[in-house]
């Protein structure tokens, strides 16, 4: 196969309308991957609408512990602190909001108090709505207290100092931290330890997970944070998207495996095919 002429042909055919990257030339491969991933999603969501049993999910200890943490707060009569992370409306905050709605429903059921905090004001109305919705669903729409969903400041360490104060003063019994965290992760975790809280954390920032692991009771590793929504809600369609997500990773794993085998035997076919356009 003549790679060079193939490249040229593709470039003249697609150059005008398909986006790519001059250095990596991964445009075409990316689009193929996106189409594959979208069809996996479509297939599994379609399947989830039927009645056939879906795949079982692997156990995630950190998420199972949430009920225990809320139960402990109820017993001790102390509040839950839910931290939505340090990012705006990004994927990690969406994942955290999904966990928040699960936690909020339980908090309503057990009549426990929960303080929700967020760093960015644009997340505040979203968080407020999520908690309020849980109170409506739990049948206690009047129980919602607006001052328990709090915005402090968007300054990174101003927020950290505020949360440190709230954690210790309100003597929270469960410190739930899900979302994107920066260097202040350890400040939150040490504050929770100081107030004797059960701590469960999960972040998609790999450079902060190492601080949550020693300081917290349970820590979600890596993408377990994103699996939480499907895992906790046991919703069939969400589970279907999780299966599709796994299939997406499988695609990359297989591609990588093939690449490793081919390069080991001295051929760059896979890399060349990937970087055609």
């Amino acid at each position: 196969m003549d790679i060079a002429s193939l490249r040229e042909g593709l470039a003249s055919a697609l150059g005008g309308w398909l986006a790519t990257d001059a250095n990596n030339r991964l445009g075409l491969t990316t689009v193929v991957f996106v189409i594959y991933y979208a069809s996996c999603n479509a297939y599994w969501i379609f399947k989830a609408r039927g009645n056939s049993p879906l795949r079982k999910l692997r156990r995630i200890a950190g998420l199972d512990a949430i009920d225990e943490a809320i139960g402990r707060c109820t017993e001790m009569g102390r509040p839950v602190l839910y931290n939505l992370g340090m990012d705006g409306l990004s994927s990690s905050t969406f994942a955290s909001l999904a966990i928040l709605s699960y936690v909020a429903i339980r908090v309503v059921r057990y009549d426990t108090r929960m303080i929700t905090v967020t760093r960015y004001a644009s997340v505040l109305p979203v968080a407020e709505n999520t908690v309020r919705q849980s109170y409506v669903e739990g049948g206690k729409p009047d129980g919602f207290r607006i001052e328990d969903v709090r915005f402090l400041t968007s300054d990174q360490f101003g927020f950290a100092s505020g949360i440190l104060g709230i954690t210790v003063r309100e003597s929270v019994a469960a410190n739930l931290m899900f979302g994107y965290y920066y260097a202040e992760s350890l400040i939150f975790a040490e504050a929770g330890f100081e107030s004797g809280a059960i701590q469960i954390a999960g972040t998609n920032n790999n450079s902060q997970t190492p601080f949550f692991i020693p300081a917290c009771d349970y820590c979600l590793l890596g993408e377990e944070l994103f699996a939480a929504s499907a895992y906790l809600s046991k919703d069939r369609i969400r589970t279907a998207t999780l299966v599709a997500q796994d299939l997406g990773k499988l695609f990359i794993a297989v591609l990588m495996g093939l690449g490793v085998i081919f390069t080991t035997f001295g051929s760059n076919v896979i890399q060349n095919l990937m970087t055609l356009f």
């Binding site: 994927s91 999904a98 709605s101 919705q133 729409p141 607006i146 915005f151 969400r238």
Partner: protein, 208 residues
Amino acid sequence: MRRTLPVALTFIVGVTAMINTYFVNPSLAAFCTRYLARTSTVSSAWAVGLGTLNLMRIHIRRINRRQDNWQYSVSLVVTYVIFLFLGVFLVGHQNNHFFQAFFNSIQPHLSSTMFSVLCFYIASAAFRAFRMRSMEATMMLLSAFIIMLGNVPIGAAIFPPMPQISDWIMNQINTSSLRAMSIGLSMGGIAQTMRNLVGIERGHLAAE
């Protein structure tokens, strides 16, 4: 309609912003940066106001009801009002020399001290939690140990090949494992974002 219309808005805006990046189309790209992105920036600027309303409501209520720590709430509200007054009425707003000098006499000190508290927290977290309770904990402890020794001259003085070992762990294990995790994280983030975009998850919409 009160529920469907917002979901439709989410979907249309999201798909337009997304599609734009896949194709080379100058007019669509111009539309996205000129209108879509600008609308997002400008409209979300108002949220800051909502956020501080929330903050003020909590603290003013605390002062009115003389709840615990209300004195501190007074200092918060007073600081807030002073800064807001100066920021709004000084010439040049946030670029005013006095506003900057005033803010810089407070914020950098508080911020970098809060940051440096981590030096102590990292020591106490390490002491408390790095115990060889299980294989996993031992793994984490060992690699942290080697890397710490490899990073400072003392490590090489104790055991000369220490920097090489620590480099090896960083290059072969840390890089590869974190790369695999990033692949998973991106896929997870994509799946999560997609669920919000198509309305599978809509917890963010206000209850009636």
